[in-house]
C-alpha cells in the first residue's frame, strides 16, 4: 500500500548555478516542496493518484516561477497560450486542452475534458466555452502576465534582429531559433 509522487518544474539550459544563486534556489525548492506536499496529502488520506497530481500541478500553475498558468511564456505575438494534459493509468482515460488563456488552472480544464466530455483533447475557444459552461474558474488573460516572461520575449525578439552574442553561451542557449 505504498504511495509516491514525483514532480518537475521544467528543464532547460538556463537552469544553471550562475543564473540561480542560493537564495533563488531556495525559493524554487520551497515551491516544489509545497507542490509535493499538496499531492502527498491526497495520497496519504487514501486519495486517488489523479487527484494528487492535479493538486500538485495546481500549486505550480499558481506560482509565477514556472512556465505554466501564471508565469507562462509569451508567443511571438505577445500573448500567452497554455496547454495541459492528464491521464489515468488504470483506465487509460485522458484529457487535454491546448491554446487556452482564460482558464486559471489549465490542468483542471484537462481533467474536465477527461471527466465531463467524450473527447480527449479540446483546443482554443471551443475548449474555453465548454469550461465556462462547466463552471471552471475563468480569469482575464492579464492574470497570467509576469514582467519576467515579457522581458524574456522582448530579449528573444530583440536578439532576432541583432547578431547574437555567440560568446555568451547562455544567451545563445536562450535563442532556440537558429
Amino acid at each position: 500500500n505504498s504511495f509516491a509522487i514525483v514532480i518537475h518544474g521544467g528543464a532547460g539550459n538556463g537552469i544553471v548555478p550562475e543564473n540561480l544563486n542560493e537564495e533563488k534556489q531556495k525559493v524554487y525548492k520551497d515551491k516544489l516542496q509545497e507542490a509535493l506536499n499538496a499531492g502527498y496529502f491526497v495520497l496519504e488520506k487514501g486519495g486517488k493518484s489523479i487527484d494528487a497530481i492535479q493538486e500538485a500541478i495546481k500549486v505550480l500553475e499558481d506560482s509565477p516561477l514556472f512556465n505554466a498558468g501564471k508565469g507562462a511564456v509569451f508567443n511571438s505575438e505577445g500573448n500567452q497560450e497554455m496547454d495541459a494534459s492528464i491521464m489515468d493509468g488504470k483506465t487509460l482515460n485522458s484529457g487535454a486542452v491546448a491554446g487556452i488563456n482564460h482558464v486559471k488552472n489549465p490542468i483542471l480544464a484537462a481533467r474536465m475534458v477527461m471527466d465531463s466530455t467524450k473527447h480527449v483533447m479540446l483546443s482554443g475557444k471551443g475548449a474555453e466555452r465548454i469550461m465556462e459552461k462547466l463552471g471552471l474558474e475563468m480569469v482575464d488573460s492579464s492574470y497570467f502576465f509576469t514582467s519576467n516572461r515579457y522581458n524574456q520575449l522582448k530579449r528573444l525578439q530583440g536578439n532576432q534582429t541583432r547578431v547574437v552574442n555567440t560568446s555568451n553561451e547562455n544567451i545563445l542557449n536562450d535563442n532556440k531559433y537558429g
Partner: protein, 133 residues
C-alpha cells in the same frame, strides 16, 4: 512546463503536464504537453511519465509512450529506457529536455539532457528529495 506523476494506495498511476509552451512560439503552436503519449502518459502496467523540453521532438519520437513500450515489451530498465529516448532518439534530432517517471512499484526515475531540471519526489517510505541541477 510543470508535471506530476503519482501512484496511490490502490496501485493506480496518473500523470499530468501543464505548460505555457516555448517563448516566442508562433501563434497556434502546440507542443508535446497536451499530447497523450508524447508529453504525458500513464499505464498501470508499466509507469507514468511527464516530459518537458522542446516539444516538437517529444512529439516526433512519441517520447513518453516509447519509454513505456521499451519497459513493457523489451523489459528495459526504466533508467535505461529514459536514457535511450532522451539521448539516442531525441538528442540526435536536436531536441533537449527531461522526463520524470514513476513505475508500478513506486520507484522514481528521471533524466534530462539540459543543464538543469526542477524536480522532486516524496514517498510513503519517508523519502523526500528536491533537486535542480
Amino acid at each position: 512546463t510543470v508535471g506530476a506523476v503519482a501512484i496511490d494506495k490502490q496501485g493506480n498511476i496518473a500523470a499530468g503536464t501543464s505548460t505555457g509552451g516555448i517563448a516566442n512560439k508562433k501563434y497556434g503552436r502546440i507542443g508535446d504537453s497536451p499530447i497523450i503519449g508524447a508529453g504525458t502518459y500513464a499505464n498501470n502496467i508499466t509507469c507514468g511519465i511527464s516530459c518537458t523540453g522542446t516539444g516538437e521532438y517529444f512529439i516526433r519520437t512519441v517520447a513518453a509512450h516509447e519509454v513505456s513500450n521499451l519497459i513493457q515489451y523489451k523489459n528495459t530498465h526504466p533508467m535505461e529506457a529514459l536514457h535511450e529516448v532522451i539521448f539516442n532518439q531525441i538528442a540526435p534530432l536536436g531536441g533537449e529536455g527531461g522526463m520524470i517517471l514513476l513505475d508500478k512499484y513506486g520507484n522514481v526515475f528521471w533524466d534530462f539532457n539540459t543543464k538543469g531540471m526542477f524536480r522532486g519526489y516524496k514517498k510513503s517510505t519517508g523519502d523526500n528529495v528536491i533537486e535542480i541541477f
